[in-house]
Symmetry: C2
Subunit: 247 residues, 2 copies
DNA sequence: GGACCTTTGTGTCAAAAATACACTTTGCGA
DNA sequence: TCGCAAAGTGTATTTTTGACACAAAGGTCC
């Protein structure tokens, strides 16, 4: 093997997390407001940070997420590795790194992760962390720090693909939910309209839903029935996937 | 941000490539025979090596692949990042690294890639490279160096998933091929039997195949017709994917 | 040359799934 | 009690799937 000493990469590794939440209407992403650097606007980034020397990648992602948002024990699915040398294209990125990192010019390779959480399970507590994590509707997210926009786009793409192959929603919805809410969830993720009757038929045929006796109360229209997931069947289906789930 | 100096990761990054090839019968993977270390058996690994400081990840993967196998200009799809701290579980791994790396104990994080090539397009030339790259049928691959077995399994899983959503085969087959060959390709990747007539019907309906006048010659049975892909339609379909392609 | 072997290539029918589509029900609020 | 808003429900048509068997073509071997 020839000598590559002076070429060998000596980078930092970070983990960045795309946390999707659903407010029963829109799909949101949990973003960090980076503190204003003098003379520069604040800007938004995915929760993420460098990982430790002896940490498994998945563990690091969870630790970092917890440190920045308080979220705990989230199942994170890997999106992939990002981090081309030109990653620091925006002046804010360089300014922020200079303020915070010992070695701001070191190349950083980041491993992207994503997860789904119920928005009610996580109410951001701006005061309790160094930087405020906030839910932002996905259509309102413009540019992000570093290559975070690319990571977000990849994560969303993966989520869409997965939705066609596996039941999803268990983590994004409260324990009791209505079929309309599940319907809106699918529309929000896929970004298309789905026929109500056909959606219901298809969902019910999967037999992962159990209807509860309970109904909505206080709504100015016909109250809808609540459902919950049948955990057993839901997880069976998660394992096998279904061949065929195209809307 | 609190001080993490003594925890921060200072790893090496490598790229490992899972190159799938199809010999018109079985699915194969291109593996490197690591040189024998005294007292230890040879063992097999994916083609892979450390990446350079200023190199984009994808570029590095292609360079490494080229250096080890001679393959050029291959479209590589990322599988993800691997590399937990316990990656060096086997004695051969440590022995090999000690012989070859300056810093054999440094943590390595590796980015996995996969690709599909025609086996006829690449005939391994054992003499011309430091280590011999050879095609190994996928069922005959047992343990691999490092976490390469895990990377291979992930890559195969991704390939299967992709096969259900996009047409594949363009890269794995010669320009002219028969429907039986394409049929066997799908069976080899998915690892299941597919009904011949139903497979043909489905393939032909996609309208990405053009039948040629040419037929097989010299075969001791009814000669089969050759087809080629309609590049235009094939690539259109690659972009859009199809919702629905479950065998 | 004829028997035989091997692989190609083709069609139909029944079951399941997808699609398109509109009206009644319920409860609240004005 | 009227109106509004969302829930909930069924059918008919088309498309897709899945299961299944036999004739055609060409070489080989005697």
């Amino acid at each position: 093997m020839h000598d590559k000493m002076n070429h060998e990469l000596n980078p930092r590794i970070s983990a960045d997390c795309v946390i999707f939440g659903f407010d029963l209407n829109k799909l949101n992403v949990l973003l960090i407001e980076r503190e204003t650097v003098v003379g520069l606007d604040t800007y938004k980034a995915l929760p993420g940070d460098l990982i430790f020397e002896d940490e498994p990648l998945d563990t690091a992602a969870n630790r970092v997420l917890n440190e920045l948002t308080g979220l705990e024990n989230i199942y994170l699915e890997q999106v992939g590795a990002f981090g081309d040398p030109d990653r620091l294209s925006k002046p804010q990125d360089r300014a922020w790194l200079k303020a915070v990192r010992q070695d701001p010019d070191a190349r950083v390779i980041t491993i992207g992760y994503y997860s789904l959480v119920g928005m009610n399970d996580y109410v951001p507590q701006p005061a309790s962390f160094a930087r405020a994590a906030t839910w932002i509707p996905i259509e309102e997210i413009g540019e992000l720090a570093f290559d975070h926009r690319e990571i977000l786009d990849s994560a969303l793409k993966k989520l869409k693909e997965k939705l066609l192959v596996q039941p999803i929603g268990f983590n994004l919805l409260p324990e009791k939910f209505t079929l309309s809410q599940l319907h809106r969830l699918y529309e929000a993720i896929l970004g298309v309209e789905l026929d109500k009757r056909n959606f219901r038929r298809k969902m019910l045929k999967m037999e992962i839903l159990e209807s509860l006796e309970e109904r909505q109360e206080g709504v100015p229209h016909k109250p809808s029935q609540f459902f919950k997931f049948n955990e057993q069947k839901y997880h069976d289906l998660l394992k096998t996937g279904f061949d065929n789930f195209g809307f």
